[in-house]
Protein backbone atom coordinates (compact mmCIF):
# COMPACT_ATOMS: atom_id res chain seq x y z
CA UNK A 1 0.00 0.00 0.00
CA UNK A 2 1.22 3.46 -0.89
CA UNK A 3 1.39 5.61 2.24
CA UNK A 4 1.63 9.40 1.98
CA UNK A 5 1.85 12.08 4.65
CA UNK A 6 -0.51 15.02 4.08
CA UNK A 7 -1.22 18.24 5.97
CA UNK A 8 -4.52 20.05 6.41
CA UNK A 9 -5.72 21.42 3.08
CA UNK A 10 -3.37 19.28 1.02
CA UNK A 11 -4.59 16.91 -1.64
CA UNK A 12 -3.89 13.59 -3.28
CA UNK A 13 -4.67 13.19 -6.97
CA UNK A 14 -5.51 9.74 -8.33
CA UNK A 15 -5.50 9.39 -12.09
CA UNK A 16 -6.81 12.34 -14.06
CA UNK A 17 -10.05 13.00 -12.26
CA UNK A 18 -10.03 11.90 -8.63
CA UNK A 19 -8.94 14.40 -5.99
CA UNK A 20 -8.85 13.65 -2.27
CA UNK A 21 -8.43 16.58 0.09
CA UNK A 22 -7.78 16.68 3.82
CA UNK A 23 -10.49 19.13 4.89
CA UNK A 24 -10.29 19.01 8.67
CA UNK A 25 -8.38 17.23 11.42
CA UNK A 26 -9.78 16.88 14.93
CA UNK A 27 -7.81 14.55 17.18
CA UNK A 28 -8.35 11.08 15.73
CA UNK A 29 -10.98 12.25 13.23
CA UNK A 30 -10.05 13.39 9.77
CA UNK A 31 -12.55 14.89 7.34
CA UNK A 32 -11.79 13.98 3.77
CA UNK A 33 -13.22 15.65 0.69
CA UNK A 34 -13.48 13.53 -2.45
CA UNK A 35 -13.98 14.71 -6.00
CA UNK A 36 -14.62 11.92 -8.45
CA UNK A 37 -16.52 11.40 -11.70
CA UNK A 38 -20.14 10.25 -11.41
CA UNK A 39 -19.36 6.69 -12.49
CA UNK A 40 -16.99 6.19 -9.56
CA UNK A 41 -18.84 5.02 -6.44
CA UNK A 42 -17.56 6.26 -3.12
CA UNK A 43 -18.51 4.40 0.05
CA UNK A 44 -17.59 4.42 3.70
CA UNK A 45 -15.61 1.20 4.01
CA UNK A 46 -17.48 -0.25 6.96
CA UNK A 47 -20.92 0.42 5.43
CA UNK A 48 -19.85 -1.11 2.12
CA UNK A 49 -18.72 -4.21 4.00
CA UNK A 50 -21.91 -4.39 6.09
CA UNK A 51 -24.18 -4.19 3.04
CA UNK A 52 -22.17 -6.79 1.16
CA UNK A 53 -22.45 -9.19 4.12
CA UNK A 54 -26.18 -8.49 4.51
CA UNK A 55 -26.83 -9.09 0.79
CA UNK A 56 -25.08 -12.45 1.13
CA UNK A 57 -27.05 -13.28 4.30
CA UNK A 58 -30.33 -12.42 2.54
CA UNK A 59 -29.53 -14.63 -0.47
CA UNK A 60 -28.41 -17.45 1.83
CA UNK A 61 -31.66 -17.23 3.83
CA UNK A 62 -33.74 -17.19 0.64
CA UNK A 63 -32.19 -20.52 -0.35
CA UNK A 64 -33.69 -22.13 2.76
CA UNK A 65 -37.27 -23.02 3.62
CA UNK A 66 -38.41 -19.57 2.73
CA UNK A 67 -42.12 -20.37 2.46
CA UNK A 68 -42.30 -21.47 6.08
CA UNK A 69 -40.24 -18.49 7.17
CA UNK A 70 -42.43 -16.10 5.19
CA UNK A 71 -45.66 -17.60 6.53
CA UNK A 72 -44.40 -17.30 10.11
CA UNK A 73 -43.36 -13.72 9.55
CA UNK A 74 -46.65 -12.78 7.86
CA UNK A 75 -48.57 -14.16 10.81
CA UNK A 76 -46.54 -12.09 13.28
CA UNK A 77 -46.85 -8.99 11.10
CA UNK A 78 -50.61 -9.27 10.90
CA UNK A 79 -50.87 -9.44 14.69
CA UNK A 80 -48.60 -6.44 15.08
CA UNK A 81 -50.28 -3.08 15.70
CA UNK A 82 -50.53 -1.10 12.50
CA UNK A 83 -48.46 2.07 12.78
CA UNK A 84 -49.96 3.81 9.80
CA UNK A 85 -48.79 3.45 6.29
CA UNK A 86 -47.62 5.89 3.72
CA UNK A 87 -47.23 5.14 0.06
CA UNK A 88 -45.21 8.10 -1.07
CA UNK A 89 -41.46 8.08 -0.86
CA UNK A 90 -40.62 11.05 1.30
CA UNK A 91 -37.06 11.07 0.10
CA UNK A 92 -35.21 14.29 -0.28
CA UNK A 93 -32.89 15.19 -3.11
CA UNK A 94 -29.62 16.89 -2.43
Amino acid sequence: MLVLTRRLGETIVIGDDIVIKIVDIHGKQIRVGIEAPAEISVYRGEIYERIMLENKAAVEAALGDVKTMTDGLKELMSSQPVVGHSDDTKSSVT
Binding site: Y48, I51, L53, E54, A58, T70, L73, K90, T94
Partner: protein, 141 residues
Protein backbone atom coordinates in the same frame (compact mmCIF):
# COMPACT_ATOMS: atom_id res chain seq x y z
CA UNK B 1 -37.63 -16.90 -21.67
CA UNK B 2 -37.70 -19.27 -18.72
CA UNK B 3 -35.59 -19.85 -15.63
CA UNK B 4 -35.82 -22.55 -13.01
CA UNK B 5 -36.14 -21.25 -9.48
CA UNK B 6 -35.71 -23.51 -6.47
CA UNK B 7 -38.84 -22.21 -4.76
CA UNK B 8 -40.97 -20.86 -7.57
CA UNK B 9 -40.26 -23.59 -10.13
CA UNK B 10 -40.30 -22.66 -13.82
CA UNK B 11 -40.60 -18.89 -14.17
CA UNK B 12 -41.49 -17.41 -17.53
CA UNK B 13 -40.58 -13.82 -18.23
CA UNK B 14 -40.25 -11.53 -21.19
CA UNK B 15 -37.21 -9.45 -22.05
CA UNK B 16 -38.99 -6.19 -21.27
CA UNK B 17 -39.48 -7.24 -17.63
CA UNK B 18 -35.74 -7.44 -17.04
CA UNK B 19 -34.29 -4.69 -14.87
CA UNK B 20 -30.58 -4.01 -15.29
CA UNK B 21 -28.42 -3.06 -12.31
CA UNK B 22 -25.38 -1.59 -14.08
CA UNK B 23 -23.30 -1.79 -10.90
CA UNK B 24 -24.76 -5.05 -9.65
CA UNK B 25 -25.32 -5.59 -5.94
CA UNK B 26 -22.50 -5.67 -3.42
CA UNK B 27 -21.34 -9.26 -3.02
CA UNK B 28 -22.93 -10.19 -6.35
CA UNK B 29 -21.34 -7.72 -8.73
CA UNK B 30 -21.28 -10.17 -11.65
CA UNK B 31 -25.04 -10.40 -11.85
CA UNK B 32 -26.68 -7.37 -13.41
CA UNK B 33 -30.06 -8.59 -14.68
CA UNK B 34 -33.02 -9.23 -12.41
CA UNK B 35 -36.73 -9.84 -12.67
CA UNK B 36 -39.29 -8.83 -10.05
CA UNK B 37 -42.12 -11.18 -9.11
CA UNK B 38 -44.96 -11.06 -6.63
CA UNK B 39 -46.39 -14.57 -6.32
CA UNK B 40 -49.60 -14.35 -4.30
CA UNK B 41 -48.45 -16.91 -1.72
CA UNK B 42 -45.53 -14.66 -0.73
CA UNK B 43 -47.36 -11.32 -0.62
CA UNK B 44 -46.70 -8.72 0.74
CA UNK B 45 -43.14 -9.76 -0.08
CA UNK B 46 -41.72 -9.77 -3.57
CA UNK B 47 -38.93 -11.67 -5.21
CA UNK B 48 -36.05 -10.16 -7.08
CA UNK B 49 -34.32 -12.92 -9.00
CA UNK B 50 -31.11 -12.87 -11.02
CA UNK B 51 -31.84 -14.34 -14.44
CA UNK B 52 -28.12 -15.02 -14.77
CA UNK B 53 -28.11 -17.14 -11.61
CA UNK B 54 -31.58 -17.77 -10.13
CA UNK B 55 -30.06 -18.91 -6.82
CA UNK B 56 -29.16 -15.27 -6.35
CA UNK B 57 -32.60 -14.13 -5.34
CA UNK B 58 -33.73 -11.60 -2.80
CA UNK B 59 -36.97 -11.18 -0.92
CA UNK B 60 -38.11 -7.60 -0.85
CA UNK B 61 -40.59 -5.55 1.08
CA UNK B 62 -41.83 -1.99 1.13
CA UNK B 63 -39.68 -0.42 3.86
CA UNK B 64 -42.50 1.99 4.73
CA UNK B 65 -44.53 -0.97 5.99
CA UNK B 66 -42.29 -1.32 9.01
CA UNK B 67 -40.65 2.08 9.15
CA UNK B 68 -43.24 4.69 8.26
CA UNK B 69 -40.88 7.66 8.36
CA UNK B 70 -38.21 5.99 6.23
CA UNK B 71 -36.69 8.65 3.99
CA UNK B 72 -33.29 7.73 2.58
CA UNK B 73 -31.32 10.47 0.97
CA UNK B 74 -31.37 10.09 -2.80
CA UNK B 75 -28.72 12.19 -4.50
CA UNK B 76 -28.72 13.79 -7.93
CA UNK B 77 -26.05 11.32 -8.82
CA UNK B 78 -28.33 8.42 -7.91
CA UNK B 79 -31.09 9.93 -10.05
CA UNK B 80 -28.70 10.37 -12.97
CA UNK B 81 -27.56 6.76 -12.74
CA UNK B 82 -31.20 5.70 -12.75
CA UNK B 83 -32.09 8.07 -15.61
CA UNK B 84 -34.78 9.51 -13.35
CA UNK B 85 -35.76 13.13 -12.94
CA UNK B 86 -37.13 12.85 -9.43
CA UNK B 87 -37.42 10.28 -6.63
CA UNK B 88 -41.18 10.08 -7.11
CA UNK B 89 -40.67 8.25 -10.40
CA UNK B 90 -38.76 5.48 -8.63
CA UNK B 91 -39.93 2.39 -6.83
CA UNK B 92 -38.19 1.61 -3.58
CA UNK B 93 -37.76 -1.74 -1.89
CA UNK B 94 -35.72 -3.11 0.97
CA UNK B 95 -34.11 -6.52 1.11
CA UNK B 96 -35.45 -8.88 3.75
CA UNK B 97 -33.25 -11.42 5.49
CA UNK B 98 -35.65 -14.19 6.49
CA UNK B 99 -35.02 -16.23 9.61
CA UNK B 100 -36.28 -19.60 10.83
CA UNK B 101 -37.40 -17.66 13.89
CA UNK B 102 -39.62 -15.04 12.22
CA UNK B 103 -39.14 -12.65 15.14
CA UNK B 104 -35.52 -12.39 14.05
CA UNK B 105 -36.27 -11.54 10.41
CA UNK B 106 -34.65 -8.26 9.45
CA UNK B 107 -34.88 -5.71 6.68
CA UNK B 108 -31.90 -3.83 5.29
CA UNK B 109 -32.69 -0.12 5.54
CA UNK B 110 -29.12 0.90 4.81
CA UNK B 111 -29.05 -0.49 1.27
CA UNK B 112 -32.43 0.16 -0.38
CA UNK B 113 -33.16 -0.98 -3.92
CA UNK B 114 -34.36 1.73 -6.28
CA UNK B 115 -35.93 0.88 -9.61
CA UNK B 116 -36.84 3.08 -12.53
CA UNK B 117 -39.55 0.86 -13.99
CA UNK B 118 -39.92 2.90 -17.16
CA UNK B 119 -36.21 2.70 -18.01
CA UNK B 120 -35.65 -0.77 -16.48
CA UNK B 121 -32.69 0.40 -14.46
CA UNK B 122 -32.02 -0.48 -10.84
CA UNK B 123 -29.49 0.44 -8.21
CA UNK B 124 -28.80 -0.53 -4.64
CA UNK B 125 -28.01 2.57 -2.66
CA UNK B 126 -25.30 2.41 -0.06
CA UNK B 127 -26.48 5.11 2.30
CA UNK B 128 -23.75 7.26 3.72
CA UNK B 129 -25.63 8.09 6.89
CA UNK B 130 -25.79 6.00 10.05
CA UNK B 131 -29.50 6.45 10.73
CA UNK B 132 -30.49 3.19 9.12
CA UNK B 133 -29.38 -0.30 10.01
CA UNK B 134 -28.71 -3.23 7.70
CA UNK B 135 -30.50 -5.39 10.28
CA UNK B 136 -33.71 -3.62 11.23
CA UNK B 137 -36.06 -6.04 13.01
CA UNK B 138 -39.36 -6.33 11.16
CA UNK B 139 -41.15 -7.51 14.30
CA UNK B 140 -40.67 -5.02 17.09
CA UNK B 141 -41.20 -6.79 20.38
Amino acid sequence: MEIQHRHLGGVTYSEDEVVTFPQGLLGFLRFKKYIFLQPSEYLPFRWMISIENPDVSFMLMNPLTCCTDYAPNITRRDLNELSAENPQSLEMYSIVTMNLDPRLATVNLSGPILVNKAMKIGKQLVLLDDRYSTKHRIIQS
